[in-house]
């Protein structure tokens, strides 16, 4: 078995510290852990979004590795440039890493991401998914799930939050035949840390999609960020998987799901949902898992 990264073995150094993220922020935990795994050789690129807003408040600069803010749409194209530039000037042992939110990845930055994967640039792209444009005040993104209330998908008598399902970005990325893609969650940091480690060693483009709840946008107490991430996986609305060598692999295959209703109704963004809405979500979940179990490798193995 390979040497796994654990809380004991990960570096004590902090590369994202003193930031101004809200208390209990999931995105900041994802960025902090990603940079701890990658170490001081990481050159991070962050587009407009929470993590650039909370990390760069001149002269208060919370990244201790080299970091730069990109255009909103250009995370992946700037990664391409950073990687080529660092290589051209002879820098050794670096990793160009993108840290972008769900809006900056699935909507605004998807063209640049698609292009970078197509060129197979030697970069790592991490999308921290909090399921809406949280930095600007909770507007719907392409990764907002069905039924979620945001300021642009309100809940009322006629419309019960977001009408459209969450875009399946993991499989969109995999469809490029990328060398490595994975899903993760801050509810399981051991899995997330080791996927970053694995992705950092990939020659070519690697993509990790990590769910990172926003207590403000999801409407949960600030100390429940981790628990809600775990509940999301337990009820089957998120799954841990990898795409490698043209194959999909499920990392965790729960024998039964916990209550989807409990997961949804513990968040104020889903409080308005009626049983019929919850049935739609459960049916979408069941259809997805049927396809996964039929077509993917479901033998649970070490990463």
């Amino acid at each position: 078995m390979r040497n796994q990264i654990t809380a004991k073995t990960i570096t004590d150094s902090e590369f994202f510290y003193g930031h101004k993220a809200c208390a209990g922020c999931g995105g900041s935990l994802a960025v902090r852990i990603a940079l701890k795994v990658l170490g001081e050789g990481a050159i991070s690129v962050l587009p407009a979004g929470c993590m650039s807003a909370v990390g760069f408040n001149y002269p208060h600069l919370c990244f201790s590795n080299n970091s730069i803010i990109s255009t909103f749409a250009g995370t992946a194209s700037m990664l391409t440039g950073v990687e080529a530039g660092a290589r051209a000037v002879g820098i050794k042992n670096f990793k160009a890493v993108g840290l972008a939110g769900d809006g900056g990845t699935a909507d605004i930055g998807i063209q640049a991401l698609s292009g970078a994967i197509d060129r197979n640039d030697d970069i790592l792209y991490i999308c921290y998914d909090n399921e809406a444009y949280m930095n600007t005040g909770i507007q719907k993104s392409g990764l907002t799930p069905f039924g979620a209330k945001t300021t642009t998908t309100p809940s009322g008598e006629n419309i019960h939050g977001n009408l459209r399902p969450k875009k399946n970005l993991f499989e969109i990325v995999a469809a490029h035949d990328i060398p490595y893609a994975a899903t993760a969650s801050i509810g399981n940091l051991k899995d997330f840390m080791n996927k970053i480690e694995k992705a950092s060693k990939i020659k070519g483009t690697a993509y990790i999609h990590v769910v990172a709840p926003c207590p403000i946008g999801w409407g949960i107490p600030v100390n429940e960020t981790i628990e809600i991430s775990q509940k999301m996986m337990d009820c089957g609305l998120w799954y841990l998987a990898e795409y490698e060598n043209g194959q999909f692999k499920l990392n965790r295959n729960p024998s039964e799901f916990s209550s989807i209703k409990d997961y949804l109704l513990s968040q104020s963004r889903f409080k308005h949902l009626e049983d019929a809405d919850i049935k739609i979500l459960a049916a979408q979940r069941d259809a997805k898992w049927t396809t996964i179990r039929k077509n993917w490798n479901t033998a649970e193995e070490d990463l």
Binding site: A21, A23, S64
Partner: protein, 99 residues
């Protein structure tokens, strides 16, 4: 071990003190976050040093010492994730008195 740390900072007094760009030294901190806190976590003797609080802290303020774990209260926001993740209920949240 290294991490961003607090440095002295004087606000620009005259026009020529202002920087030409916003690029600056990495890990340069000038303000604390301690004023955000309503409650402060206290690590008690029940701690078994499993490091889960250290790992899951969004702000990375729990750090290893020779005798166990300690908290950097300059940057702890008091979210309480450490209290919830602790398998031994060894972290207690106390009302912040700001002293």
């Amino acid at each position: 071990m290294s991490k961003p740390y607090l440095r002295p900072y004087q606000k620009p007094q005259k026009l020529s003190d202002y920087p030409l760009g916003t690029a600056s030294e990495a890990g340069y901190l000038v303000t604390k976050n301690s004023g955000w806190r309503n409650e402060r976590p206290i690590i008690t003797d029940e701690c078994i040093n499993c490091l889960q609080c250290y790992l899951y802290c969004p702000d990375g303020v729990i750090f290893k010492t020779e005798s166990g774990l300690d908290i950097d209260y300059d940057f702890c926001k008091g979210c309480g994730i450490c209290e919830r993740i602790c398998p031994k209920q060894a972290i207690k949240m106390e009302v912040e008195t700001n002293d």
